[in-house]
Symmetry: C2
Subunit: 229 residues, 2 copies
């Protein structure tokens, strides 16, 4: 129980179903397989040049991170994005990442905190160089959140957020094109959170992270409503 080396995110993908999982996660998050479309096992098995055994194993893990939904004897579909789904997802995220911040303020060592600061500076630079490029912003933001979650040192929390929920979070952000004007504001919020953690003020870090995520949710929810649905 000391650490959680189960998902292919934390170890190199040794087996064939590991590689499949990573590839399919990317494919679904990026929207290359349309949201809501049915998944044909024989078709995908041909496409990826594997048998159905590792494919089904990968699909079981895709279900685990809420990217597909399976019905026995009927098949699997890619999840549909919706405002209610986003709400439900971010309710959990607020709660769990708030907790992660509180625990990170207790459990992160000085070196980890310093690395976190470094990460923020680094992202500030790439952000200046590449104005408007949403990809870097996206990746940077995720790095930040991941490190804090890992800093909580709670294996279950790490597993739930990084291995399960975050793929859906990314899917919402990618498919709604998160290149908005929230860049610099998010940066300031990140900075404030780091300071709270460095001061070992878990309560404040918790509060700031909740607000940060709530703001992010509002942003995405707006986009979702603009797009008609």
């Amino acid at each position: 129980m000391t650490d959680s080396p189960q998902s292919p995110l934390w170890r190199s993908p040794v087996t064939s179903s590991d590689r499949l999982l990573l590839e399919m996660q990317r494919t679904i998050v990026e929207g290359e397989i349309a949201s809501g479309s049915k998944i044909s096992e024989p078709e995908l098995a041909r496409k990826f040049n594997v048998s159905r055994a590792p494919l089904r194993e990968a699909m079981a893990r895709l279900e685990r991170c809420h990217l597909i939904e399976r019905i026995p004897n009927a098949g699997a579909r890619v999840v549909k994005l919706s405002t209610e789904g986003l709400r439900a997802l971010y309710q959990i995220r607020e709660e769990l990442e708030g907790l992660a911040c509180r625990l990170a303020a207790e459990n992160m060592d000085e070196q980890e905190i310093e690395q976190l600061r470094g990460l923020l500076d680094q992202h500030l630079n790439t952000q200046r160089v590449r104005e408007g490029e949403s990809y870097y912003q996206e990746a940077g933001d995720l790095d930040f959140h991941y490190r804090i979650i890992i800093g909580s040192k709670n294996p279950y929390l790490i597993n739930m957020l990084c291995d399960e929920l975050y793929f859906l979070v990314r899917m919402y952000r990618v498919q709604l094109g998160m290149n908005g004007p929230r860049v610099s504001r998010a940066f300031d919020e990140h900075k404030a959170i780091i300071n709270a953690i460095a001061n070992r003020d878990g309560e404040l870090a918790d509060l700031l992270m909740r607000r940060h995520i709530a703001a992010s949710r509002g942003n995405i929810e707006l986009k979702l409503q603009q797009l008609g649905k």
Copy 2:
């Protein structure tokens, strides 16, 4: 995304791996397969009279609810119970069930609340009849928590708590023999929580549930330390 009919807890177990999952969950939680022992696929396949395909599917889902841990090409082991694990588990539980209470206060309809009250009365009776029988207390307590979680109406929350975390919770309680003197106190706490939900006071319900779970954790942690480890 409206509801979550995926796990065999929410639909009747149609497939062979469904039945296997339910049986193995019970087996592990009750301790019939020793904590920490290795799981042999050929052996279990013979024991349950199935091929390895559905067995492996069931094992993938056992891993999801943290009852076993798998290492690629090396095999799977039943999880070991530990004080650190219990801590980590209950940290999450406090947070998520607190949230569940808050949401339940918003989203449960009058009928559900009434049923919840009925459940509590019913458990009071069986408890009086069968003094000291820990099984009924256990089942009753779980029923209570499950209903509130479902009352939150948040599919992700329901899935995470009922389908993933709660098996481990039960495993800790069962294997440490939770027949303690906390019976009547837990009953009063449950009553207070229901009242808060009925009054639509989500904040209070949240607080009371956190305390309730913290008390429960303290109880189990004590037992764990008594047993030497």
